[in-house]
Amino acid sequence: MLNIRELEQRWLRYKIKSYTPYIIIGISILVILSLSVILLSKQESNSSASNIKKVPVKTLKEQEPIKKIKSKKKQETSQKSKVSQTTIKTNQKEKHTHTIVNESKQQAMRKVQLSPSLDFMRKMQDSVQPYYRNDREPDMKENQQKQKRYPQQSSIPTKEQIIKPQVTDNTAGGIDIQRKNTQNDIYEIIQRFEKNNNPVLSLFVAKKYYELGEYREAYDYALKTNNIDKNIEESWIIFAKSLVKLGRRDKAISTLRTYVNYSHSGNARNLLEEIKSGKFK
């Protein structure tokens, strides 16, 4: 028997373990970063105020905030040196280190130094999952619809067409599925449908064709589905949507109206409103 709790804990431990090297690298980079900040501010305090711009911080994105902090550091360090003016130069190193540590405890760390580390975390995740980058481009034609199609990924070496990941915005109820499929699969399903007339299969085909923008076929298979079982809401919706896409808005409205009247389906009613108002076209 599965024990979810225990498994989740083991998983967490596993995750932490697998991220540990990256975290260590992260921390060491942080340390290096703060060390260089210390060095920088030391240089600054040694030079005159007008030299700030010469400080080599090109690699950091957040130049602005860093500058601000630098000037803060400058103020503080100069304050300190006022307080302890008697200190000889050879002690300065220690003193500056001390100053910076205090300072970072107070504010600077929280404000700025964390942002490069976040960047780093992101990189780390990228490097952990090298396969997972896929280049998705939304298909602009269909941005009216809830489901968006994406072009094929070419990385997989199979004969069969593979399969377009799709993102669904619709989060209402049940499972939201990333839709993807191939013509080949559709044909296979059609063959099976022809053998056993299972409306689940024809509905699947209708949905796939609709996603592929082949509205005539989508219409056909939704119709077939409805003829076998007239109580499948999804099929009526595909049917009506395909009608709209095929330029038969009036027929879509009258069909949906009939269906809503006898099924009281909320989704169908919403779609009906959207078609009537021109929101869905």
Binding site: L2, I4, L7, E8, R10, W11, R13, Y14, K15, K17, Q129, Y131, Y132, N134, Q153, S155, I156, P157, T158, K159, E160, I162, I163, P165, V167, T168, I175, D176, I177, Q178, R179, K180, N181, D185, I189, N198, V200, L201, F204
Partner: protein, 269 residues
Amino acid sequence: MESIFVNSKDVFLDVVNAKDYIQLDRVSTIYQSLKDSIKKPLKMILLYGKPGTGKSMFLNKLYKDISTSNEIFLYNTPILDESEFYKTLAQDVFGTKYSGELNFTQFMKIVESKEKQSVPVVLLDEAQLYSEALMEKIRLLSDTRTIKFVITLHKTEKEDLIAKEHFQTRIWESIELENASSGELKIYIQKKLMKANCFDTANMFNAKSVNLIHKITDGNYRDTNKLLYTLFELYALYESNHQLSSIKTDQISHKLIEMSAIHVGLIDA
């Protein structure tokens, strides 16, 4: 209503049944060439590969397809006793019932006495379990071209056998089955689910999640079955605990994949 996750889970029970066979490009090429070689007058076909690469599945599929047209016999579990082995073949293939011990010479007499229109095909799964002595008799038998044998072996055993030179020259054709590539694995998973009308869960697998599964199972079908069985068991559990909202359902949750891998021991944690 039956939970889709429970249905999907059962898809990945580790059973070998020809009707669940999934046509995969690479396998179907091999399959075609095997079907062709069965028609040719060759001696022995050796099917080898690591555990869980689908050898038994392949053999069962072959049996199912060919049994309508050819005389074909399938032995899923090896008959290790020599006399018992001959007696079974004598009865099944040559229709001769024999009581008492039957040795090789006597069996050969039966074989020679029977005129066959076509050469019967005998499929032997798990042949690594047969003794070396019996394997040698099987080899002699196929040399007479009265029976065609197709045998499957674990890979390591095959390497052992090949090392013995007599086998090297006698085996006419050997075919290796391998683990799936990531692309094949995706097709395997999705087709398997779709065959059981689990379209929604089939659509939850995208290239990313299959890549992760492939990384964990190395594309081994049996390990993948084990992993996905647990995966859907977990999904079903979350569902019955009303915790589905805490995990991904628009696509397979990587966390759950890894949890399953930990559970079945494919990941150390």
